[in-house]
């Protein structure tokens, strides 16, 4: 069957990352309009390197407009990178087309933010989950039906929901359908873009627990994109912090949250309110001045220099490179030794 053609030609060594991207860039061209006469190039993602280990979770954090969603969309090849390599099991897939692209997408799937927007309102739960199987003509009708039942069971949807439509489901149930759909083709990697943001607070933990269970049981690797830092810390093994299209800090989740090095990571962690009034009243909150610069007109030198409390002259002139500062930790800042 098709699955056999998908097996990598050479078995991957245990140490090699499952998914590795390097120098990933995405430039959007804002066309000239009545009000903006000049065509402008927006560097949405400007040279991103990431490695995702088998069975691990990589958290991608940053504020809106930092390029984390565009990066996620390039990882599943919904967006064509302007330049850069995407290596899955060591094979470059960034230029894949036709059958190669379809084979890639079977292995790298996506869970979207808002399940009420990403599910077709006119398709039943069964049809939604079955669609990827139908499109890739996997097995016969009965096998696909059995597979849908199995997937629904896996994500915790009762079988009597199969004939329901998205509007008849709660937010949490809809996101379970979105997850079942992403699981349908037994992918190796799932890119989850803000999977809990659109959900009610009391339902978020259900979805987070489900994703962790799936990882434990099926060995799936996740790229978890979110601005919810405490959830990222909970689910991720490694974390990459993005600011204005670039990664400013990368490393093991526990270490980054315990001891952030980049001033932006520090400010981001300090800005998150802690659900403990006693701690909150004692806590010193570093308030960043100003806002995210316009990515169409980034500052010279370090992108964070306009808001950085530790800024010096060199930061405004020379953009810091991402460099290794300790075992497994990289940071892009002139002020970090």
């Amino acid at each position: 069957m098709i699955t056999e053609t998908l097996a990598p030609a050479t078995p991957p060594s245990a140490a090699a990352p499952l998914l590795k991207v390097s120098g990933l860039q995405k430039h959007f061209v804002a066309r000239p309009s009545l009000f903006n006469r000049k065509a402008r190039v927006v560097l949405a993602v400007d040279g991103v390197d990431l490695e995702l280990e088998r069975g691990k979770t990589l958290g991608l954090v940053g504020e809106s407009g930092c390029g984390k969603t565009t990066t996620g969309r390039m990882l599943v090849q919904l967006e064509k990178p302007t330049s850069g390599d995407i290596l899955l099991d060591g094979a470059d897939c960034s230029q894949a087309t036709g059958d190669d692209l379809r084979a890639y997408r079977r292995r790298v799937q996506m869970v979207f933010q808002d399940p009420s927007a990403s599910l077709d309102a006119k398709m039943s739960v069964r049809a939604c989950i079955s669609e990827p199987l139908d499109v890739s003509r996997d097995g016969n009708r009965e096998l696909r039906r059995a597979r849908v039942a199995d997937l629904m069971h896996k994500v915790g949807l009762s079988h009597d929901m199969a004939e329901r439509y998205p509007h008849q489901l709660s937010g949490g149930q809809r996101q379970r359908v979105g997850i079942a759909r992403a699981l349908a083709l037994s992918p190796d990697v799932i890119v989850a873009d803000e999977p809990t943001s659109a959900l009610d607070v009391s339902v978020r933990a259900q979805v987070v627990n489900l994703l962790r269970d799936l990882q434990e049981q099926l060995g799936i690797s996740f790229v978890f994109i979110s601005h919810d830092l405490s959830t990222v810390r909970y689910v991720s093994h490694d974390v990459a912090v993005m600011y204005l299209g670039k990664i400013v800090e990368k490393g093991p989740a526990d270490e980054i949250f315990a001891e952030p090095l980049h001033p932006y990571t520090k400010a981001l962690l300090a800005a998150v309110p802690v659900p403990n009034p006693v701690l909150e009243s004692r806590r010193e909150v570093i308030l960043l001045e100003g806002e995210l610069p316009n990515p169409a007109n980034p500052p010279s030198g370090c992108a964070f220099s306009t808001r950085c409390p530790l800024v010096m002259d060199r930061c405004r002139e020379e953009a810091p490179e991402l460099r290794s500062v300790a075992e497994g930790r990289t940071v892009a800042c002139h002020r970090v030794d």
Partner: protein, 351 residues
Amino acid sequence: MTATAVLERPQEFVPDAPLLSVRDLTVHFHTKRGTVRAVSDVSFDLHRGERLAIVGESGSGKSVMSMSLLQLVAYPGEIVDGSAVLEGRDLLALKGRELRNTRGGAVTMIFQDPMTALNPVLRIADQIIPPMRRHLGLSQAAARLRALEVLRRTGIPDPERNIEAFPHELSGGMRQRVLIAMAVVCRPRLLIADEPTTALDVTIQAQIVALLKEIAEQEDSAVVFVTHDMGLVARFAHRVAVMYAGRIVEIGPVEQIFADPQHPYTQGLLASIPAIDGDKPSRLWQIDGSPPDLADVSLGCAFGPRCRAANSLCRTIRPMLERRAAGHEGACWVTPPKPGAVPRPEVRFDH
């Protein structure tokens, strides 16, 4: 000696004179599916300068409740019962000129989305100055001076220039600052903020919350702060009211609610949030199921179907708010043990 001390004492320390007294507030929506009981019998007091957080998830009635304090509930919604007495006047009974004088004057509101709350075709000046002329009776020049001063205090750079800007020329964070300036410029006694930072990024959210706290203190305004974020509650509020299915299920001082939550819903909410430091549990505590449909009338506790401690009493009779500690009330028949060691509820896998 004692006499002077008493005289110096500001009014907010007199415990039996609340600024706002809400009693039995009930709001229904008349829909094709039947009556949706969005808010049921909500009662609370708010003192001068106090910051009360209303916590709940979407559909809990927190927004409708706070909007109805200014009668901002349109058809098919209807305030069917209750009163909200602010300094001797019932806000829910105001009509015509009196209502217009109160809205934007003694009581103001900050909405979630600053883009839709500002008029896109008017300059900031033309949105911030007229309310002051109406409510404070200031001249155009005096109102403009005060507007510039408040804009500066809310952190708007170069207010002289930005007061002439249109909303689309400002960023999201700046627009929210303008809304805050507009909300405090008439020195309201009460400020209602409905998820004022939900549309913003964390670093901007931190700026806005710090600003709101500071400026409410300066103007001595009481704040009703509607949110679903327990972290923001901890950072901002003096007191917390937790709403579930249109009712307050727990209310109390912020330290008490976090240290010793009395309602299983509050306990579950707090336990389901992963921490930003310390140990990671192998599983998050989860509240199973989803919030109830408010068009269904059910006996008993609305949280019952999702509660691990529910018994037959919970299913038949709804618990009322009862005193648990000083100023701390909870509505629960059985206050079960707090979520500690998290049991795995059910294994859903085949093998």
